[in-house]
Amino acid sequence: MNRIILILFVFICTHSIAQKLSVSADKNPAIVGEQILLQYSIDTQGNNFKSPNFNGLRVLSGPNPSTQSSYSYVNGKSQNSTKTTYSYYLKATKEGTFKISPATIKVDGKTIKSKSYQIKIVKGSEKNKAQQKALSDNLFIKVEVSKKNIVVGEQIMATYKLFNRLELNNTEVSELPDLNGFWTKDLETSSRFKRDVIDGIPYYVAIVKQSVLTAQKSGKLIIDPMELKCSIRVKNNNRNRGFFGNNYQIQEEYISSKAITINVAELPNPPPNFHGAVGKFTIKSEVDNTTANANDAITYKLTITGTGNIELIEPLAIQFPEDFEVYDPKVSDRIFEGGRKRSIKTFEYLLIPRYEGEFTIASSSLVYYNNKTKKYETKKTSQHNLTIKANTNTEDENSTINQQIIKTEKKDIHYIFTTTKMKEIRDNILNKNLFILIFFLPIFLIILLRIYNIIVGETDTNSSNWKNKKANKIALKRLKYAKNCINNNDFDSFFEEIEKSLWGYFADKFKVRIADLSKETVSTHFYSNAIEINTEKQFIALLDECEFARYAPASNKNAQMGDILNKAKRIIIEVETALR
């Protein structure tokens, strides 16, 4: 029993060891500013490694995965082992205890979790502190701001300078300032170091970043710190120097500037037509032609010159004549130092006058806040009078439509009615019962009339008439070809056609097969359908007559043909009416 438990225990142990994600650090506790190597390792090959959350510790690099495989063959037994390591380089910026949340990895579809890890960061020893101090004395960033108390829309210049006395290998911006609340325009800087002496100590100074900031809102705006990653060459103090006598090593240091608060004041009582221009400006307007033909383009140019937030100035509201077609302005500017030096901005409007006449482009004004005199100032453009002549080019006149569509932009209710005709308030309809009475009385009368007619039986004449008409139609249809023959004076085929039509009619009507057609069948069918004997006789007589006429031509053919046609027609009508 005991043995079984032992075996089981061992089995579980080996199994769990094989699938453990272990975590370790090269130093714990560590000193502020020191580099820490944190490693996650597992004894198999895994994938989908998820980084932990380094609460407050900075990750310098990582995760860097590495895999080790070993294969051993001992006493005829082979052993294969793999080890995967994910390493991080961390740096603590302040002291305290930092808890690193567990990392996870997937092995054979299973998710394995590491333990959470605690790192204690302690203050450096005296020696270490001194080293740190020495570093910050010799390598630091300083922000220089041209002004600290400004108004909304005013511009300041912020310059980030790097002071250095060490052997600097490389610098890299690791964190850019956010500069919330500012409109930022970066200026080009040269990163070349210049020698500068401060308090008798020579430094190499380089401008890292220089920007013109335009305050967009009031309040305390913060120019937040900029951080640089510097690689410094440090002399190696270790005795066991490298084989090739490399007694320098690269040390990575992070340095950051201090945050600066700028007080931005609200503009005092802005006038209604003020649109945020701050600085000092002059304004000028030009028109290339004061006289032009209709449909010819005119250029109206507005130039703003001065210092301030010129880049943010929107096109002015210019009152162009209604009948001018105005296109969106072409904006061009030449800005120097973000507007801190005299800059120029031009708006070029393309105008197309559509009608002749005298027009004026009213003067427009630019209101700005002069941050030197602390007053609002207004600069006006000059007024331009334009003379537009009728277009002499007639071709053009045809192509352009001179009609204008009246625009109704704003919606409002229509005006009241001024006249009316009053009526008494009541439901303006006939009473339901009265309506039914008046309406259904005639219907009732019509029905009565109908019933009376049926009783008297006068309706018969009507329907017999209608029947006759139909019979006539059928006869005409049957004798169509025969009639054609009369029209064509085709004497021979006429009789043949008559005969054919009569026999055809008979066969169709009484459903007799062609083979059975004879004078006997005619009499039997006529008799069984109660058709007068007279009709039958006429039918047969007509057939005989046709036969005879075919071989013994008469003197007056046309008269004979007409006569026969009429006879045939009458017979068909008689049969049709009799059959109903």
């Binding site: 209710i413 229509h414 009053m422 008494e424 309809i429 006939l430 009368l445 019509i446």
Partner: protein, 242 residues
Amino acid sequence: MKLKTLIITLLVSISSYASDQLFEKANKSYNNSDYTSAIILYDSILTIGLESSELYYNLGNCHYKEQDWANAIWHYEKSLKLEKNDKTIQNLELANLKIIDRIEEIPQLFYKKWWSGFISIFNTFSWQLISILIIWLALTLKILSQFTNYKNKYFLSVLYSLLLISIFATYSSYQKNITKKEAIIFTSSIVVNSEPKTNSTNKFTLHSGTKIEILDTNGEWINIKILNGSSGWIKKSECKIL
């Protein structure tokens, strides 16, 4: 006070002449942007017992200018009941944009649209008259053909089909204008209940100015239907029947 005495004195002289004068006076007040007194003057015509489509329209305009949307809509709708007019329809559309509730109307099928357009050419009374006229004309023709030799079958059949159309139109028009009761909600916000009880389930909320159709009445409760088809119960006092 002054206006009250004015109304009383005006009420005494009930005549169409007086109503015309009142109308003109009210129009003048409207022109002077004195909408409150214009409303009182217009309303006094109604209290005399006279009405017209234009009167309701003008009242709607006054209420619109006073930004009393529910009243404006009510009067425009009332005006439309008497007579269709493009001005009124457009103003009503504008007023309907101002109210809170925006109800998606179920689109009508095209033939229904045509039919309702057709029947609104005349009012119910006219349709009734047209139907009666046609049926009596048909009767006269019938009698004429009976006792004389005059026979015109085609004309009679055309007349019969016209009769069929007009009687259907009369029926629809009657259903639409007389049987169908509509109302405008006047309370700023009301909850529509699922049953005519205060503690029943709340189905949805309506706001003033919304047009509703009254389906049924149960004591002080009415069963209503809105344009998108949903229905429920509200109290009668919350709305004003058109």
